[in-house]
């Protein structure tokens, strides 16, 4: 067992976990933060997306011990206009992927604001990349939605950045 500390949604949490416990399971099973969802548990769906020091990651492929002393934000700690936009634009149906979608979108907007390009960015030299629907779809492609609410998700994010 390893004794670690982690800042989760602003408060310091002490965790006593085996090294094989994922960050996802530590959040859900040890800290009771069940807003973060377990989808595929193999990094293929994005449902478990959280922010580590503001960067989006999939918590299922993260060992909790590896994130000791880091600053983790889960959907329970997110306050973003995107949340209302998702409701307004039907950015979900069943809701299972939604916490991951929103955490991912928050991280994605930070990356974009820092000038990070994507696979569909035409001019890699520019730091001012227009966040078109095509850019949003590419940058959000790590979050799958089995209900197919993609149009609503893109509309919600487009509204969120206005």
């Amino acid at each position: 067992m390893a004794d670690i500390r982690m800042r989760v949604n602003g408060s310091i949490e002490k965790l006593d976990v085996e090294p094989r416990v994922s960050l996802l399971d530590a959040l859900r099973e040890h800290l009771g933060l069940t807003g973060t969802k377990k989808g595929c548990d193999q990094g293929a769906c994005g449902a478990c997306t959280v922010l580590a020091d503001g960067e989006r990651i999939v918590s299922c492929l993260a060992l909790a011990v590896q994130y000791a002393d880091r600053d983790i934000t889960t959907i329970e700690g997110v306050t973003s206009p995107l949340q209302r936009s998702f409701v307004r634009h039907d950015g979900f149906q069943c809701g299972y992927c939604t916490s991951g979608q929103i955490c991912s979108a928050v991280g994605m907007l930070t990356e974009h604001a820092a000038g990070a390009p994507s696979a569909v960015t035409g001019d890699l030299a520019t730091m001012e990349i227009e966040l078109t629907a095509e850019e949003i779809r590419e940058r959000m492609s790590g979050n799958l939605c089995r209900c197919g609410a993609y149009n609503g998700i893109v509309a919600a994010i487009e509204e969120g950045i206005r």
Binding site: E18, P19, G43, R56, Q66
Partner: protein, 330 residues
Amino acid sequence: MKDFAYVSAPDVATAVRAITEPGAKFLGGGTNLVDLMRQNVERPDTVVDITRLPLDRVEELPDGRIRIGAMMRNSALAAHRLIRTRYPMLAQALLAGASGQLRNMATVGGNVLQRTRCPYFVDLAARCNKREPGSGCDAIGGFNRNAAIFGASESCVATHPSDMCVALAALDATIELESVRGVRRLPLVGFHALPGDAPQHETAIAADELITAIELPDLPVAARSRYRKVRDRASYAFALVSVAAALEVRDGVVTEARLALGGVASRPWRAHAAERALMGAPATEESFRRAADAELAGAVAQSQNAFKIELARRAVTATLRQLHLPGGAA
């Protein structure tokens, strides 16, 4: 997942000492290893976390070469100004891989060492010579739609899944390795092995070695380069075929060409035959097609993946056309 001991290495000296323990394995971003551990394909006794090593910078060396720390995240490397402007094919290859979340986690060193996505490799009920030497290969004659078309053997038809490495192969990158025995440098081209009769030997790295850096040569032609990836969906999927290409044309004649293919072999496939065919040839559609034909002449299909040969031919031609006629028809 089997239990294991966890060690976080603060510096390279500690890391390379820790890895000499039997059953020890380095852990980078975890995007491949943690997944394989959960499926019991990897069962390390000790995991040596190297993500805190101070190897996360891009440096421009005095002679113009670029040195990339092996713990640099894929997303950070793709976003780096020097990579975007001097080696666009590398930035594009990185951005074509995985998802935003995974690129934020995955390290450059780990990307080089990632394992095949052949479905039989992770299926413990299947035969796989890579996972269990001598057991056989269920991909041959089985589900092999995305198997290799170059360099496969009767033991293994798996591909290396990296996008980044395809660009690194075209760029003639160098890998720096460190162990308690010292430091050595190897060219990336040839670092990944062909399967032969021992597909479990995937790279030239020794069990006690750590990738500390990747170095890129100062290569003006790379500023006019691109990476094109063809896959089953528009994003977040492994390549069926990909192409990294750089082209220099003077007075309508090709004076320099660099070409590598991804998704087609157990290594990023440097297309030497296509490069030879291009050198000195007029920069025309006809020459591009001939160069693709020259490379694909050596391709061999499995039962389900003959389509990849034609797909690779078209992807090579289209990428060269795009490079030669920017803004032209893709």
